[in-house]
Each structure stands twice: as structure tokens, then as C-alpha cells.
């Protein structure tokens, strides 16, 4: 069979970090047993929620901004081909080079090749979800190129041979004493008298990275926004490591998901109000860098933009699920989610944890590879309320649950139920028999109910069926 290359395609297997090693319920069980992790997460999510709520309350037009953000993104999705070509044209006019990567393998190959052509054996990296998604660091290492994460949290994760657990604060599962241990074990030239005081730890990272910033000729970043009208790219950050990477090296390579486009320069007025307040709970993040192609005499003189599909076209192909691509990676949905707060980021198995991950990852990979994620939710709706671009995450979760392959026992039970309900006499006798099920007890002993009764009580059967009651009136 040949594949028509124009068909939307999911992210390929065997590369990248969109699939976990085990199902969400299995991974969540371990997380739930980790008291330290739950304390760290509760502290983090509660703190960010509080800050965010306060600064959002300062804006009288928050709901109108959300509506605008949502509508702009819907418009982007409907016109994606023309906007992508417009972005490419503007970036190219300004001296940038645009590359198109159909999936993680192609994106990694493009970046590795670009770095090789510079002759550099080391790259500095700005925190980027897209490059985490495609496992670019692993691809660079395999090619003999050392990727150095420069965001403090990503550095902690990298030095600890760990995985990020939160979109915004990837090392939130680590506390200060763990971070101190990681630095002592893995940071070259670290002061052995290092304490676990956060300013001391931050200063150690500053010292370690300073020389790397000044001596590395290639940087790799993601992008928060790519503006079709002007070819401008924007990176939003706090520490200044982003500015370092985006300004100091000779060559800058930016990997951007194709959904990150906004149509016009003016549209930034919406997203720059939404993103910081929803994300870190600040009126504005400390630093935002914007650049358009190459500026002679200022910043990198070689700029490459890699536009990444890697399953996004498959998400776009589902009208009921495509608004997952509106996500601006603020992580507000993580911080309000009762399930994330108790299970943490690693349980989701993907670089995209929490509610947005529960809808994004299964759509990017195909539902069969992340079939348990749409169930990692109580459907309480807090994520929808928190989302600055109004993604109806609960509705998409329900939609994806319908797409998910069901366990064999559940399929058999549903088939039997359908057969019975088609036959009135059989249905009546089944209802009488159901009374007998009371002896199965509230844990459903002996019934083929899969995982359902592991976490919940079986509802009690009524004393009388509706039909019996109706007949007896």
C-alpha cells in the first residue's frame, strides 16, 4: 500500500517524547504514592493559581481578550497554508532561511545538518517544548554535538538525567536539596560548599553558563509566536538565558510548530496580555525578544526557521479536536487541574502533561498510542475556565474517549447490552436478574468491569425496575 503524502499524518513512533512507557493509570499510581512530589506540586500549583488570579482580576477586559485570542487562533487554523507561506516569504526577505519538517526525524536531521555545517560541536538551547517533543537533544548527542540547556529548570532536568514535569517550571518536582545534589554531582567546576539556598543555586548556574554563552557559536530556540504579516518571531522568558541565546551566537536555529502563527503584528497586543498573566501570574514576563530575519550588526547573522508538522496536521484534521492547536503553552490548565496536582507531569508520559497534554498527545500520536490519557481527567471543567484562549478541553476529552479503543471486556459487555436491549423479553428478564447483582457488592466482585470499580463504588441497583413500577401504578 502506498500512502498519499498529502494525508494528515501522526507523529512517528520511535522518536520524540510524546509517548510514555506505561499507561496513565499505572504511572499515576506511583506518583500518588510519592508524598514529596505531591507536596511540591501542591505548593507550586496553588502559588501560581493565586498569583495568576490576582493579575487577571486587574484586567477588566479579560474575557474579551480570551474571546479575541480564541477567534484569532481559529482564523489561523482555517488559513494555515496561506499564513505559513506568508511567514516564509517575510522571513526569507529579511535574510532568514526557512525549512519544512514533516516530522521529528526530519526536523532533527535538518537541525543536526545545520549545526554540522557551522563546525560547532556544542549548541546552547533556549527552553522549548517543540525541541523536547522531537527529542532534539538526543539526536544532537547521537551526532556528537553537545546540547546545553540554559534555562535553569531545563538545566536541572538535563544535569539530573531527568524528564521535565511541567510546561512552565519543568523541574518543579525537585526541591532545593535535590537540586543541590544534582549540581554537586553533575555541574563541572561547581563550588563543593554549595548550599541549597535558591539564590546560591541560581548564582552557581549563572557562573557555570556564562562562559558557555560567550563561547558557543550556535543557538537553538523555539518560538512563542511567529507573525505571518511581518516575519517576526517572539520568545517569551524570564531569566535572560533566552536573550543570551538569541543575541550572542553567530547562528540561530528556531524550531517552531506550524500552529504557532499569528496573522498580524497587531495580534500580539492580545497574546502579550493573555500569556504572562495566565502562565506565570505576572503582568508581563521579565524578558521578551522579537526578531525579524537578520539585523546586520546586531545578533545572529545566520537565522534558520524550521517549521514542524509532526502530527499537527492530524490534529487539524479533526474538526472536534483541532482547537487543541490554539494552545499557547501557558500551562494554566495544569495549575488548576486536580488530577495533575496529584499525579504530576511524568504520569502523562509525554512532554505535554496535564489537561492540554491529555488532548494534545493522543491527537499528535494517534489515539491508540495514548489511549488512557483522555481518561486522565475528572471533567471538572477548571481547565476550560483557566485557558486564556478558551480551548474547551473537557469537550475534547469526551470526544477522544469515544475514539479510544475500548478494552475487550468492555466491548463484549456493550455488545451484550445492545443485543439484550433490542429484545424486550430478554431485557425484562435481564432487569430482574440485575437484582441478583446486588450480591456482587459495591466493589463489583466477579463482574467484568475492568478498572471501573478499582476507583469507584458500583452504583446500587434499585429495588424495583422502572417497568415494574410503571406496571404497578
Amino acid at each position: 500500500m502506498t500512502t498519499f503524502l498529502g494525508m494528515p499524518a501522526t507523529a512517528p513512533r520511535g522518536v520524540g517524547h510524546l509517548r510514555g512507557d506505561e499507561s496513565f493509570p499505572a504511572a499515576a499510581h506511583k506518583a500518588l504514592a510519592d508524598d514529596q512530589l505531591r507536596r511540591n506540586l501542591r505548593h507550586a500549583t496553588t502559588t501560581i493559581r493565586g498569583k495568576s488570579g490576582r493579575v487577571i482580576a486587574e484586567l477588566p477586559d479579560w474575557q474579551e481578550l480570551r474571546s479575541a485570542g480564541s477567534a484569532i487562533k481559529a482564523d489561523v487554523m482555517s488559513r494555515l497554508p496561506e499564513l505559513l507561506e506568508e511567514l516564509e516569504a517575510r522571513v526569507t526577505e529579511r535574510g532568514g532561511v526557512v525549512h519544512w519538517a514533516a516530522d521529528a526525524n526530519e526536523a532533527n536531521a535538518i537541525v543536526v545538518d545545520l549545526v554540522r555545517r557551522t563546525g560547532s560541536e556544542r549548541v546552547i538551547k533556549v527552553k522549548s517544548m517543540a525541541t523536547q517533543e522531537i527529542a532534539l537533544n538526543e539526536a544532537l548527542e547521537a551526532a556528537g554535538i553537545q546540547p546545553v540547556e540554559t534555562d535553569l529548570a531545563e538545566l536541572i532536568v538535563q544535569l539530573g538525567n531527568d524528564k521535565p514535569s511541567h510546561i512552565l517550571v519543568p523541574a518543579i518536582h525537585r526541591n532545593r536539596s535535590e537540586i543541590r545534589e544534582i549540581f554537586l554531582a553533575a555541574m563541572p567546576g561547581v563550588d563543593p560548599d554549595l548550599t541549597d539556598d535558591p539564590p546560591v543555586l541560581a548564582a552557581a548556574a549563572r557562573k557555570y553558563l556564562r562562559e558557555t554563552f560567550l563561547s558557543t557559536k550556535v543557538a537553538i530556540s523555539g518560538a512563542n509566536f511567529g507573525i505571518a504579516e511581518t516575519g517576526t518571531l517572539a520568545v517569551v522568558e524570564s531569566e535572560g538565558n533566552g536573550r543570551m541565546c538569541l543575541t550572542l551566537p553567530e547562528t540561530l536555529i528556531t524550531v517552531m510548530g506550524i500552529e504557532k502563527i499569528v496573522p498580524t503584528w497587531q495580534d500580539l497586543e492580545v497574546f502579550l496580555q493573555l500569556l504572562p498573566r495566565a502562565s506565570t501570574g505576572e503582568r508581563m514576563n521579565p524578558y521578551t525578544t522579537m526578531w525579524t530575519g537578520v539585523t546586520p550588526g546586531d545578533g545572529p547573522q545566520n537565522f534558520h526557521l524550521v517549521l514542524l508538522d509532526n502530527g499537527r496536521s492530524a490534529v487539524l484534521a479533526d474538526p472536534a479536536g483541532r482547537s487543541a492547536l490554539h494552545c499557547i503553552r501557558c500551562s494554566a490548565c495544569l495549575n488548576v487541574c486536580p488530577v495533575y496536582e496529584r499525579t504530576g507531569g511524568h504520569a502523562y508520559g509525554s512532554v505535554y502533561p496535564g489537561p492540554i497534554g491529555a488532548i494534545l498527545s493522543p491527537q499528535l500520536t494517534g489515539i491508540e498510542d495514548n489511549a488512557s490519557l483522555p481518561f486522565a481527567s475528572s471533567l471538572c471543567g477548571a481547565c476550560f475556565d483557566a485557558c486564556p484562549v478558551k480551548i474547551d478541553i473537557p469537550a475534547i476529552l469526551v470526544h477522544l474517549r469515544n475514539q479510544a479503543p475500548h478494552p475487550r471486556s468492555e466491548r463484549a459487555a456493550m455488545r451484550a447490552a445492545a443485543y439484550t436491549m433490542d429484545r424486550p423479553k430478554l431485557y425484562a428478564s435481564a432487569q430482574r436478574a440485575a437484582k441478583l447483582a446486588r450480591i456482587a457488592g459495591r466493589r463489583g466482585r466477579g463482574l467484568p468491569l475492568g478498572g471501573w470499580t478499582d476507583a469507584r463504588d458500583l452504583p446500587e441497583f434499585p429495588q424495583q425496575t422502572f417497568r415494574d413500577w410503571w406496571a404497578s401504578r
Binding site: 498529502g6 494525508m7 481559529a74 505559513l84 519544512w100 502579550l272 522579537m290 526578531w291 539585523t295
Partner: protein, 197 residues
């Protein structure tokens, strides 16, 4: 078939239900009162920046007092702002910039509501690198550069210039969400707001 064709083909196939492009509703605030300098000062201080409101003829002396050493300045910076011995950026090497005690620049726009200062690499602000490496960044703001809101700032800026939006000094919250000022960028931000002439 190029990857561009593959991706655009996939995207077009994905959109075969032809979702209608739509004009976004822009019912959010787009008209604002005059910028309130007190709000700007309040927001800047909240971000741990140090703010002074001074007369223009006091800039050079104030900068000398804050920096207490070598101050890098962009070549287009007004001469009367420069402290004695200021080091103009005539393509200085990164090491020399990093070795300076402070950098002094003008700004393009400031946003009162968010406490944000935007640099656009004009001659009085210079290359991005000079405001990145020294530990102290001193910015001189003229009152007429201050707008109330983000939409007004976006409207004033030219996206073809490299832009740096700064809200307070460098900060991280990556260790147990404790805010620590200064990881990689300048650890101290001083804003000098000029008195109206």
C-alpha cells in the same frame, strides 16, 4: 515532492471541511486614558527595579553614582546623559561589555500597566548585546514615551527592528517557585524617568 509540499498538502487535506476564516472580535480595551506615571513606577518597583524621577541635567551625575565604575553607552546616546569616562560601544568585544559595571540606554516605549520597557535598537539604545551582559542596566525614560497599555505599545513599535521587552531585572522561579532576581541577564535595573520639560 518537497517537505513543504507534503506539509501544505496535509494541512489542506486536514481543512477539507473548509472552516470559515473569521474576523476576530476585538471588544477588548483599545482606547486608553493618558499613561499614569505613578502606575508605571508602582509596577516597576513591584518588579524590583529601582526608579528615580529626575531632571534631565541630573542624568550623568545620577548614573555615575549608581554605576560607580565603567558605563557602556550606545554611540547615539545624548552626550549630556553620559557620565564622565563613559565607554561608547564602537563594536566592543563581548568581554569588554561584560567587564563593564553598567550600561546606560534610552528606550523606545514603556507600558505603565505592566511595568515594561521596550528597547528597539535605535542609535540611543544600541545593539542588544550591550544591555545583556553588564550586571546593571540603567534606562532613561522620557515621559512622552510612556503609554498606558500593551496595545498602544505594539502600535508604536516597528517589528522590523530587533525588540527587547524588559519587565524588571532577570528573574527565575524555577527552584520551589522562589523568585530569585538575576540569573543570566542584568541583576539590577534602574529606571530614570525624566521630569517633563
Amino acid at each position: 515532492m518537497s517537505s513543504k509540499d507534503v506539509i501544505l498538502g496535509r494541512v489542506r487535506a486536514a481543512l477539507r471541511d473548509a472552516p470559515a476564516p473569521g474576523e476576530a472580535p476585538r471588544e477588548y480595551r483599545r482606547v486608553f486614558p493618558a499613561a499614569d506615571l505613578d502606575v508605571l513606577v508602582d509596577r516597576l518597583v513591584d518588579y524590583k527595579a529601582t526608579v528615580r524621577r529626575i531632571a534631565e541635567d541630573a542624568v550623568a551625575a545620577t548614573v555615575a553614582e549608581i554605576a560607580g565604575g565603567v558605563v557602556v553607552v550606545p554611540e547615539g546616546l545624548p552626550l549630556n546623559w553620559r557620565p564622565e569616562g563613559a565607554l561608547p560601544d564602537d563594536d566592543l568585544s563581548p568581554d569588554r561589555i561584560a567587564g563593564a559595571d553598567a550600561v546606560l540606554t534610552a528606550a523606545a516605549v514603556a507600558v505603565a500597566e505592566t511595568g515594561t520597557i521596550v528597547l528597539d535598537a535605535s542609535p540611543d539604545q544600541g545593539r542588544r548585546i550591550i544591555t545583556l551582559l553588564p550586571d546593571v542596566h540603567i534606562v532613561v525614560l522620557r515621559p512622552e514615551q510612556v503609554v498606558a497599555s500593551v496595545p498602544e505599545a505594539v502600535a508604536r513599535l516597528d517589528p522590523r527592528r530587533p525588540l527587547t521587552w524588559i519587565s524588571g531585572p532577570s528573574a527565575t522561579s524555577d527552584i520551589e517557585l522562589n523568585r530569585v532576581e538575576g540569573v543570566h541577564g542584568p541583576r539590577h535595573l534602574h529606571v530614570l524617568i525624566l521630569e517633563p520639560v
